[in-house]
């Protein structure tokens, strides 16, 4: 039992009021996306659609599908590579600490807090040099590199809970650095991979700054395309809301089915390393 500050009815009233605030945009998105354009009038804005109509989804899908595919090509390799890199780094920084390892770790961690604007100009010059500017592989590279701090942090904290005695006894049995990783740490880190994978998937899918500066039209991921949709001449709100729902669907589904792990990642990313 914790602090009892208010009576039950007031408590539920506050929670329900906040819930309405949180759900209001979702309600509006759904009802608007299901209306045909002639029902998008101010007087009917908050009303349920008279009949369910999927034309706005069809239109949003036609406009966003290529970018949706771009995002998939981006997010899958970037998530897998950065998770693998993070797990190796986390393994070294938790079980093979060398002199100065903690300082290196802190210096790496700083990389996840910087405003990415402050590396953007050289980054774009660099990507042009190596011919990856305006390409999905270029974005994959960017997300892998700037994903190193957070994935390393998460795996380092995760591996800290693996008892060192396990590593020591494996060494006595003759197992080396990679054998221990392959046969002891890796099998133990399935949950770690799920947490980090979900985290990276969500962040990369939702990311906008790199996407809008590194890619143009054909190569753009979904969030840039969604933003362009809202910037177009005639604002068709039903199409825009349908587009927002399509763009949000993958991460929302991940949250619905794996929310527990998502929240774990959230906490892992902020608590002290």
């Amino acid at each position: 039992m914790s602090v009892r500050v208010v009576t039950r009815p007031i408590l539920y009233a506050i929670l329900i009021a906040f819930s309405l605030f949180f759900l209001m945009p979702v309600y509006l998105m759904f009802i608007t996306s299901l209306k045909p354009l002639d029902q998008i009038t101010l007087s009917q804005m908050w009303e349920l659609p008279r009949a369910i109509d999927f034309t706005s989804y069809k239109e949003a899908f036609n406009k966003l599908a290529p970018n949706f595919v771009n995002s998939i090509y981006l997010v899958i390799p970037a998530t897998i590579i950065s998770a693998l890199l993070g797990s190796l780094n986390g393994y070294v920084l938790s079980k093979w600490k060398f002199k100065g390892a903690d300082w290196i770790f802190t210096a790496v961690l700083f990389g996840m807090f910087i405003p990415y604007q402050s590396i953007l100009i050289p980054l774009i010059q660099f990507l042009r040099e190596i011919g990856l500017y305006n390409s999905i592989p270029g974005l994959v590279l960017v997300h892998v590199v700037y994903g190193i701090p957070i994935t390393t942090l998460m795996f380092r904290n995760f591996y800290a809970s693996v008892p060192t005695e396990m590593i020591e006894s494996a060494q006595i049995d003759g197992a080396g650095f990679f054998t221990i990783f392959r046969y002891i740490m890796f099998p133990l880190s399935i949950i770690g991979f799920v947490v980090v994978g979900i985290w990276q998937f969500t962040n990369i899918w939702n990311e906008f700054l790199f996407a809008v500066t590194i890619t143009t039209s054909q190569q753009q991921p979904i969030m840039v395309a969604l933003q362009n949709l809202s910037g177009s001449q005639i604002v068709q709100w039903n199409v825009q809301m349908a587009g927002a729902i399509l763009a949000a669907l993958p991460t929302l589904l991940v949250y619905i089915f794996l929310g527990k792990f998502f929240v774990r990642g959230l906490l892992a990313g902020s608590v002290k390393g």
Partner: protein, 327 residues
């Protein structure tokens, strides 16, 4: 801590398989060296892509590169001097200050209140939790697109508020309260920024709820029981015991939120853009437009260096103190 590397001869005798293993392998590299080699690519990448690129941006910010053609001739602090005299950048500093302040206060208080309420052994706790958490799975772009419509003065929530006789202008307001002359701008709270704070709070409150809830669940019940036996009221227990114990979490939330709001770009770009008289403009948006739409690379670089310094003021002490505290 380095694990023990030597294996005793006793172990070898008792385990014939490992003898073969160790005899066959005459490793050139010890495990400690392998570990460092394994980490090396990441260290090099971070050294170049984070520190090297920041250094390069710093150099660009001191150059004359303000057109499509790179010009790396040294300009001194010219670009910085220009910014601090610039109406738009002064407005950005004001907007960032109040946005950061209100955003942190909103996220902290709503997060703490909701976490305490959720911790009262209530019904449907996980349902409420999910309602508060799900916006975090969304992109700031999605949030911006939806709230742009909700807080548009002629649509959205104003359709209800008009019935109550209210019609706030939300992000289209150009009012600054109190609007004292300061440099080239009016200093004060830009009313339009409140609309952006509401949208940002909608997205990020779940984070502080999750943090505080984890903190509250970590406080042993015995502490509260002991205080109750000593005759403390529930309010006293909260103020004297619970709140101080939650302090590290409050600090973490403040720092995470501060660094998000100091570098914010996508939410504002998608929701309002710079706004009339730059009432909702922030350095992130200014940098994007001046660099990638106007080709003022050196000016853009100077903006990002100022952004980086403002974030570093919060982050560097935080990282150093958690290094000492943890590990």
């Amino acid at each position: 801590m380095e694990p023990v590397k030597t294996s005793s001869s006793l172990e070898r005798e008792s385990n014939p398989l490992t003898i073969k293993e160790t005899k066959r392998k005459r490793p050139l590299l010890t495990d400690g060296v392998k570990a460092i080699l394994c980490l090396l690519p990441s260290i090099i990448l971070i050294a170049i892509f984070v520190y090297g690129f920041i250094g390069w941006t710093g150099y660009v910010s001191l150059s004359n590169w303000n057109s499509l053609v790179p010009d790396f001739s040294f300009a001194g602090l010219k670009n910085y001097a220009y910014l601090f005299n610039d109406f738009r950048f002064q407005a950005d500093l004001r907007n960032t200050l109040f946005f950061t302040l209100f955003f942190i206060i909103a996220v902290l208080t709503s997060g703490l209140v909701l976490a305490i309420l959720l911790d009262q052994k209530i019904r449907a706790e996980s349902l409420f939790r999910n309602i508060f958490f799900f916006p975090m799975a969304l992109s700031f772009v999605v949030t911006g697109v939806v709230w742009q419509w909700l807080l548009n003065p002629s649509t959205g929530v104003n359709l209800f508020l008009k019935k109550l006789g209210m019609a706030p202008k939300w992000y289209t307001s150009v009012t600054i309260i109190p609007g004292i002359e300061w440099g080239k701008i009016e200093f004060g709270v830009p009313v339009a920024i409140i609309a952006v704070v509401i949208a940002a709070m909608w997205q990020m409150t779940g984070f502080s709820v999750a943090m505080y809830l984890a903190g509250l669940r970590g406080i042993p019940d015995e502490l509260r029981e002991a205080a109750r036996i000593d005759g403390a009221s529930e309010f006293q227990i909260f103020m004297k015991i619970i709140f101080p114990l939650l302090m590290p979490i409050t600090v973490s939330v403040i720092i995470i939120m501060a660094h998000i709001s100091l570098k914010i770009f996508d939410l504002i770009y998608a929701m309002t853009g710079p706004g009339a008289n730059f009432v909702t403009d922030v350095p992130g948006v200014y940098m994007f437009e001046t660099t990638f739409r106007g080709n003022y690379y050196a000016n853009g670089a100077a903006i990002t260096i100022i952004m980086l310094l403002s974030v570093a003021i919060f982050i560097v002490p935080y990282l150093i103190s958690s290094r000492k505290g943890g590990a």
